[in-house]
């Protein structure tokens, strides 16, 4: 298309870039919004899943005879066959559908499962034990050195000698261990589906962040065509990367519904949800790091490990040390295979762990040299991998002002004390790609002036609906209420899954393109009436008017009535970023934390958390800020509170309930200050997604703040009171 798509100039917009209330906010706040869990049908059965109580075993038999006799139990279905292996506790092995929750609970209890136990291994923090148990995968290695090996040099030997030489020549060397435990996604709406057959066609109300991409995953195992499946998700109660796929239990729900001839709602119980429906890989690292006397890192040598669970994997060695790219580095990564559920993408895969495992080391360099951490981060910006030095520097200055870094910072462990309470500051920086993925939007303009934007996207909670409405209404010069947004069905034009922070950029691209094309058609119709050329017209304040003579105008309704009998439908397509400037990718971000630590109890209290984030052109700053607040709180959660606790012998997930799996509550988060960094060059580079970047830095920033307070590193996140006290004890003995 010859037409150039563009955003309105900054400062000229009515809605875009100005804080807007969510168009579905009242529905969400009053219970009117229907999530998958809320979709009810007449004669619907409730179904639940039986998860394996054993972390590793072979199924010998599943006996439903007692369960089937329980009043109210309608159908039992096995999900594993005799001989199948179970590799983690909670892996679904059967489902029961019945008339009530009570009947289903009794039914699940009455299922008899015979198993053959197998050896269990879950110790992901202990590399030597994993090696001894034969539970490690292929080691990945990546070496980059300023000096190249000669033709006759053994590469490994050369690297070893070179790194030893560089460490020896460093003004300061830190040798340390850091880590971060597995956490789960803990979506408040558990995974599941409400399914209903209409003949051979399946309507699947699925809790998914992938509305356009999941119909085929139902169709194939059910032996029907993708076109016979409609996936619907008007609202989703949390996903965070765990809800891209149609799990086997959702397919089982459809099978039961087909066999029984009734709709079925199968949602996971909380404990099964936590045991099987998503977690983030752990990461533990041994590192030697050398720097000059200014704190500029010259050599990095690390070995890290961690677990994806039952499948091999771990934090990629390519993101270590995180964002910083020192001249000499050797990174090795060892995956550990455990009897725990396989991880799923967790908000910014790899990045939070990499940040927590390496920007803590940068802070320890500052501590060892007695330097201000701010200065050490600043001096190392020259090596950032994403060429955003200037953005980081500007964001650091803003963040420092917001938290009062200059006045409050003190050398590590040397701050004022209030009884047993010490305080400290820490910081970290992060990066993320984002950018748009393929998306299609249909804009329909009806002859009565009604406008619809229709696409197979979903609202993960980021305000997708509202963003689409803002863009459409802005383009047509209409109020927000003048636009209807249809998302959440696989029958709508396909749009990207909500992963990788691509949603807002993707839907913004396709919607703006469709709306600009549709407006041009309206201009063409109106131009005859207004006796002017289409390019001389503008849409503003509910009117189509001649730019140079705004008295010559038509109301939006009058202009649309020129369509005649049929609505106008225009498809906006976005395949790849094509330098039209509507969207972009690659962001920075700086975060600073202020904490208080009680040296007697080990309790860390958040005082203040500051986030400064660039994200290109911001469609709706209100929702963008909410995501930043949320990311900070999710970060505080994994920095201080949340961890999956597995029994080391049996692999049992010991805290798989909300009461036991600790997350912060309203009183635990302190003051949070968010600042969107959006100078003109950010606005002009177009839309970039935001979901992931601001959740990356909190682990390292909070750990660094705790270290600044105590003068002692608490090496592994979360920084629980027990770990704080253990670290203090170790330091006392040292």
């Amino acid at each position: 298309m010859a037409k150039k798509y563009s955003w309105p100039d900054r400062g000229t917009t009515a809605l875009l870039g100005k804080p807007q209330d969510r168009i579905d906010g009242i529905a969400k706040a009053t219970g009117a919004a229907k999530y998958t869990y809320d979709v009810n049908f007449d004669k619907m059965l409730i179904a639940r899943v039986l998860g394996s109580p054993h972390a590793h075993c072979k199924i010998k038999s599943i006996d439903f005879s007692a369960a089937e006799k329980i009043p109210g139990v309608v159908k039992c279905m096995a999900m594993k066959e005799p001989g199948n292996e179970v590799r983690w506790q909670g892996d679904p092995i059967a489902a029961v559908a019945g008339e009530s929750e009570g009947a289903v609970a009794e039914g699940l209890k009455a299922i008899k499962v015979e198993i053959e136990p197998l050896d269990v291994y879950v110790k992901d923090a202990d590399l030597a034990a994993a090696e001894a148990a034969g539970r490690t995968g292929k080691v990945a290695k990546n070496v980059q050195l300023e000096r190249e090996a000669g033709d006759d040099d053994d590469e490994d030997k050369f690297a070893e000698q070179e790194i030893e030489r560089l460490l020896k020549e460093s003004a300061v060397v830190v040798e340390a261990h850091y880590g971060i435990d597995v956490i789960t996604h803990m979506c408040l709406e558990p995974h599941g589906a409400t399914v209903q057959w209409e003949g051979d066609k399946l309507n699947a109300y699925l809790s998914t962040q992938n509305v356009s991409g999941t119909a085929g995953q139902f169709a194939s195992p059910l032996g029907i065509t993708t076109g016979d499946v409609t996936v619907i998700c008007d609202f989703i109660g949390g996903g965070f990367g765990s809800k891209f796929q149609v799990d086997n239990f959702n397919v089982t729900a459809a099978k039961i519904a087909k066999e029984v001839g009734r709709p079925v709602k199968l949602m996971l119980d909380r404990d099964i949800e936590l045991k099987t429906a998503g977690c983030r890989p752990s990461g533990y690292i041994d590192v030697r790091i050398g720097a000059d006397k200014e704190g500029v890192v010259t050599v990095w040598d690390s070995q890290h490990w961690g677990t994806f669970g039952a499948t091999a994997g771990g934090v990629d060695q390519g993101v270590i040390p995180y964002v910083f790219n020192p001249k000499n580095r050797r990174r090795r990564a060892t995956p550990i295979i455990t009897n725990a559920s396989p991880s799923r993408a967790w908000r910014a895969p790899n990045h939070p762990q990499a940040c927590a495992m390496s920007q803590t080391a940068y802070d320890d360099i500052a501590a060892k040299l007695g330097l201000n951490s701010y200065d050490v981060f600043l001096r190392n910006l020259a090596s950032v991998s994403n060429e955003k030095q200037n953005v980081y520097q500007a964001e650091m200055e803003i963040a420092a002002k917001l938290i009062g870094w200059k006045d409050k910072w003190h050398p590590h462990g040397k701050g004022p004390k209030k009884g047993a309470v010490v305080s400290g500051l820490g910081m970290a920086i992060h990066t993320w790609g984002g950018g748009g993925q393929p998306s299609n939007t249909n804009i329909t303009i009806h002859p009565d002036g009604a406008v619809e934007a229709t696409l197979g996207s979903q609202d993960l909670g980021t305000g997708t609906r509202t963003a689409i409405a803002i863009i459409t209404a802005e383009t047509f010069g209409l109020p927000l209420a003048g636009v209807k947004v249809n998302i959440g069905s696989s029958k709508y034009p396909p749009s990207a899954a909500s992963g990788g922070s691509v949603t807002i950029a993707s839907v913004s691209e396709s919607t703006r393109r469709a709306a600009q094309d549709a407006l041009l058609k309206i201009f063409e119709l109106a131009s005859k009436k207004l006796e002017s050329e289409p390019e001389n017209l503008e849409a503003k304040d509910g009117r189509i008017q001649v730019k140079s003579d705004t008295k010559k105008s038509l109301s939006w309704k009058e202009a649309c009535s020129l369509l005649g009998m049929m609505p106008l439908e225009v498809k906006g397509e976005f395949k790849r970023r094509d330098d039209q400037g509507l969207s972009s990718s690659q962001v920075g971000g700086v975060q600073m934390a202020e904490v208080e630590v009680d040296r007697d109890t080990g309790v860390v209290r958040m005082k203040k958390f500051v986030l400064v984030q660039d994200m290109g052109l911001v469609i709706n700053p209100k929702c963008a800020q909410s995501q930043m607040y949320g990311a900070a709180i999710m970060g505080i959660a994994y920095a201080l509170f949340e961890q999956r606790i597995l029994d080391p012998t049996t692999g049992a997930f010991l805290n798989a309930e909300i009461a036991d799996y600790k997350l912060p509550r309203l009183g635990d988060v302190g003051e949070i200050v968010v600042e969107i960094y959006q100078p003109d060059d950010e606005y002009n580079r177009g839309v970039v997604g935001l979901g992931e970047p601001p959740v990356i830095s909190p682990g390292a920033a909070i750990s660094n703040a705790v270290c600044n307070a105590l003068g002692v590193r608490v090496p592994v996140l979360p920084l629980t009171p027990k770990r704080v006290l253990e670290a203090l004890e170790r330091a006392r003995k040292a």
């Binding site: 009570g102 408040l188 993960l460 990311a631 909300i658 997350l663 009183g667």
Partner: protein, 207 residues
Amino acid sequence: MKDQRPSRAGESGFSRRAFLQGSGAAAAATALAAGSGVAEAADDKTKVLGPGPTAITLKVNGADRQVTVEPRTTLLEALRFKLNLTGAKPVSVDDSSGASMVIIDGKPASANTILAVACVGKKIQTVESLGGSKPDPVVTAFLHNDAMQCGFCTPGFVVAVRAFLDKNPKATEDQIRKGLNSNLCRCGTYANVIQAALEVVKGGSRG
């Protein structure tokens, strides 16, 4: 600093999980099989209910609603599956998330830790009653302050804020931070919930 949840009146003390799956279920099953399944209705007379599904009347959002429930049916299950009032959400098996919060006889309570039969004769108010053409100021404050993301915890939070401010209409920010720890949000909307609650305080809550 953790979990300073106020003890809430209006809760039955039942653990739903223990009731459904643990010794409670066994005891209930035995009692039902013996034909002497007894649950106490809210009036003082002991009424025999069950063993099977039983018709009861619940006073929900000002209207009498007939539902047929088993004696073991929780209020949450009755609201969601029998009355299609799905604002209260099933998030935790106990009351540790606050997502199923409703107001019973003027006091906040978790609908998943009380049985439907125990609510006969009580006034039950769900989040749906705070909507309508003129929403409750807490609802509009949640909207203006964007105190929601995925929104699954939001109805429970709205009820919690409503109940908290009814009792503490002039709450300070500090009191809000200390007093609203009953509800959990995974997306992290707490900062905005605090602002929403403060807006209601400043604008004056309902009489």
